[in-house]
């Protein structure tokens, strides 16, 4: 594998929307340890709204750790310690007063493996609104339809909303999980290798969906698949051994990287 050429059309499209975007996530000097293992080292990243930001890097480089830090899901691991600042919309998410539930209401997440609840499709989508106090059946109906449409799966499941989500295929399950995430209309969607458990056709569908969602949401996606990053992202950050080696326009990263290690990685010399 050599360098990857990005389709011309997308490049042109991007030039027009490049200006005047505000930051959603501003990471400053973030360090993270698992016990004594220093997993993230002095991370500085500025992620803009209404963009797709891809995070790439070899296994164990800290890319999954980083995205899980953005909604503080990383705290489910007991031995984790952090230092530094992550500002979400100008508020440090590590602040004592910052309620983690509030953060996660604004920031949705899609996981590596599709993880729908063992409930009906409807109940899966309505889960988020319900836990946040929305009980009105009419409103819930509206939210469910809108979210499923948003995840481009409405037509496939509209006649069996009462069925268990486990009856769906892996790709459909993942889009249900995306719809579940859309149901609370988040500001940002974090995606942690969302297509790694899917077949190529389902992967394509999810990728198209990501392109579509960009209009309304800011998306941060971790992927081990460089072509995927090249296909769908506006910006790409390359992680290596817990550090950000390079963060730039995706085109630049893939055509003319400034760091030698980035070049080695994207040209397939390691990882």
């Amino acid at each position: 594998m050599t360098t990857i050429v990005k389709p011309e059309v997308k490049t042109a499209e991007k030039e027009t929307v490049k200006k005047n975007k505000s930051s959603v996530y501003k990471t400053e000097q973030l360090n993270l340890w698992y016990g004594s293992n220093h997993a993230l080292k002095n991370i500085d990243l500025d992620i803009k709204e209404n963009e797709v930001t891809a995070i790439i890097g070899p296994s164990g480089c800290g890319k999954s750790t980083y995205i899980k830090t953005l909604n503080r899901m990383i705290e489910t691991i007991p031995s984790v310690k952090t230092s530094g600042v992550i500002n979400y919309r100008d508020k440090n998410i590590f602040d004592k007063e910052y309620q983690v539930e509030e953060l996660r209401t604004k920031v949705g997440m899609v996981f590596q493996k599709p993880n729908p609840f063992p409930k009906s499709i409807y109940d899966n989508i309505a889960y988020g609104p319900r836990i946040h106090g929305i009980k009105n059946k009419k409103i819930l109906d509206q939210i469910v339809e809108k979210s499923l449409r948003g995840a481009a799966i409405w037509d496939e499941v509209k006649d069996r909303l009462g069925e268990n989500a486990y009856g769906l295929s892996g790709g459909q399950q993942q889009r249900i999980c995306i719809a579940r995430c859309l149901a609370i209309e988040p500001d940002v969607i974090l995606m942690d290798e969302p297509t790694s458990a899917l077949d190529p056709i389902s992967t394509l569908k999810v990728e198209e969906l990501v392109q579509d969602l960009k209009k309304d949401y800011s998306i941060i996606i971790v992927t081990h698949n460089m072509q995927q990053a090249a296909r769908i992202s506006d910006k790409t950050a390359f992680f290596l051994n817990g550090e950000v080696v390079e963060f730039d326009e995706t085109d630049k990263i893939f055509s003319n990287p400034s760091d030698e290690r980035t070049e080695d990685y994207i040209s397939g010399r390691f990882g």
Partner: protein, 292 residues
């Protein structure tokens, strides 16, 4: 020079194989022993007790005359007892399991609770009877009541329910919890809406099996001192009562052989109840097995 004489090995192989076949037979026979004993036990009890098993057997009270004896008070007592044991033991057992699996930090006290639960499971039931007699019957002055016996039985089966519930809760994949947390749900919301619904079949299966242990348990009832001959049915949880295994014990102890047959009839009913409860448990287990 060769160290391995292949002719000798071949000659020995034959005896080795014979030994293998022989002992396989011995092992199979040992396994069969348990099955045969169970078959004999069931056969004996059914042939002995079926004569006394009639409609009247269910509608009569205990009596000095074998033909007039029945289990009306005993079976209602057992049902009442379960009405106390089921909610109390499940509330305590599931609550403890949720605490241990979802909240408890890994510290010495948590470890102590766990060791304590496994030791509690090994305490003889007769000792639980002494606990019930001292604490519930006398100290809390509940008397020889359904409530006192029910609380004693609840504590007796508590370790079984805790362990079964822990296993069921542990079997819920972490991905589901993560999905819920990522939506901004709190821990308790996640437990209530995701973890418990997913683990309820396992919890129910374990609890029913534990209850079937409680319904056949006799020693604590004996120690608490519940009566065997009772001419009325219970009217509330503070009422005194008798229970099916207690009644069977009393009939078994009588010197008249006829009462042994009455006891066998009682055992048929008790075993019938157990089989029904176990079938429900197996049904739930099979129906809801591995949904995620």
């Amino acid at each position: 020079m060769k160290f391995v004489n292949h002719e000798e090995v071949a000659a020995k192989t034959k005896t080795r194989l014979t030994k293998n076949t022989l002992l396989k037979g011995v092992f199979a026979a040992a396994t069969g022993f348990g099955l045969v004993v169970l078959a004999i036990l069931l056969y004996r009890i059914v042939t002995q007790g079926s004569d006394y098993l009639s409609f009247e057997f269910f509608t009569s009270f205990a009596s000095r005359i074998p033909e007039n004896s029945g289990i009306k008070a005993a079976i209602l007592g057992s049902v009442y007892l379960m009405l106390v044991v089921a909610p109390v033991s499940m509330f305590l057992g599931v609550g403890t399991a949720i605490y241990l699996e979802e909240y408890a930090k890994r510290n010495k006290f948590t470890n102590f609770i766990k060791v304590n639960i496994s030791n509690l499971a090994g305490v003889p039931s007769v000792v639980f009877g002494l606990l019930g007699l001292t604490i519930f019957v006398r100290f809390f002055d509940l008397g020889i009541s359904i409530l006192a016996a029910g609380l004693t039985m609840s504590l007796l089966i508590l370790p079984i329910i805790i362990v079964a519930s822990q296993e069921a809760i542990r079997a819920v994949p972490n991905e589901l919890r993560e999905a819920s947390f990522a939506m901004g749900a709190t821990r308790w919301q996640t437990i209530l809406r995701v973890v418990l619904p997913a683990s309820i079949p396992g919890i129910l299966t374990g609890s029913i099996l534990a209850l079937s242990r409680a319904i056949g348990e006799t020693a604590p009832l004996v120690v608490i001192g519940i009566p065997t001959i009772l001419m009325f049915t219970p009217d509330g949880i503070m009422s005194t009562f008798t229970a099916l295994p207690m009644q069977i014990f009393d009939w078994t102890k009588r010197p008249q052989v006829e009462f042994h047959d009455v006891a066998a009839a009682g055992i048929i009913v008790l075993m019938g109840l157990l089989i029904i409860m176990n079938s429900i448990a197996v049904f739930i287990r099979n129906k809801y097995q591995k949904r995620y």
